[in-house]
Symmetry: C2
Subunit: 197 residues, 2 copies
Amino acid sequence: MSSLLEQLIEAFRVLPGVGQKTAQRMAYHVLERERDGGRRLASALSEAVERVGHCTRCRDFSETEVCATCASAARDAHQLCAVESPADRLAIEQATGYRGLYFVLQGRLSPLDGIGPREIGLDRLAERLQEGEVQELIIATNPTVEGEATAHYLAQLARQHGVKPSRLAHGVPLGGELEYVDRGTLSHAFGSRSEMA
Amino acid sequence: MSSLLEQLIEAFRVLPGVGQKTAQRMAYHVLERERDGGRRLASALSEAVERVGHCTRCRDFSETEVCATCASAARDAHQLCAVESPADRLAIEQATGYRGLYFVLQGRLSPLDGIGPREIGLDRLAERLQEGEVQELIIATNPTVEGEATAHYLAQLARQHGVKPSRLAHGVPLGGELEYVDRGTLSHAFGSRSEMA
């Protein structure tokens, strides 16, 4: 059996971008200088992994049935912004002054991988649009091939329910991922979104 | 109170080289795709933080009173290699074919910071040298000002106990280009050139 230290190094490798060398540095750093921080991280991790689920309204991560954003009376329920992932949602929330609501697809249409409309919650989105409160669906999927296909599908869905679809302005570099775009660019693109033809 | 997700992001920042953005990516990655890995990491962390202490022989991290290396009959007890940190010990262990034992200082002499011989375990190292089994003390402290000062102190200590001190060779790194080597290193390498066979 491997030692606790070896197990810890191995366990760190589950994190994105962390290889053997970085995992070693992390393990030694925690043991040498940050035991309290390590304890906090361990408990935050196990709490979050067990208790963070998805908001029933927007499918974003949430520890409550309806997330704080969806439950907030201060947000504008006439605008709904569809994003692929919670990270994209956070990027928009941090970069722009958007005060509407979100819908997190948790993916994008990808028929070859068996990811169809139901897998990304479009049945629930359709119900949401049917409710009549949403006036604009801001489509903020990634500017990739699959993201664009998803955007077109979403625009169609919006029109079917009499909702105006809009898309983030070009200015977001093609082939890039929203999560990594700098704030200025993202904010600009968000501000000059245009109605989809 | 902040959400579990925010707490998790904050907790990740305890790791070396992890800022806000990377911490977000780690948290989302674990929640989206690696909940099992997250559970393993949480338990490995809390186990290690509580149970990993220091070997009473070499001061390296160990969950047992004497670490596996010190307890091994296959290691050569005539050679002892002094390093500043467990990470340095691991680097040497992984890069070289060294089969002797180690002594981990867990620091370096730094009188201005109140780190004297006792703080880096030199009383215990002296007892170890006194035992008479060690014939060579390989001094592998870092080539910094404080590391060099520590090396000189260690060499003196070794001689007092009739043990031969040795120091890692300094010079131009293999595969490096002379043009890019720093002046101190180049000057040292030039000064301690050796005759070619």
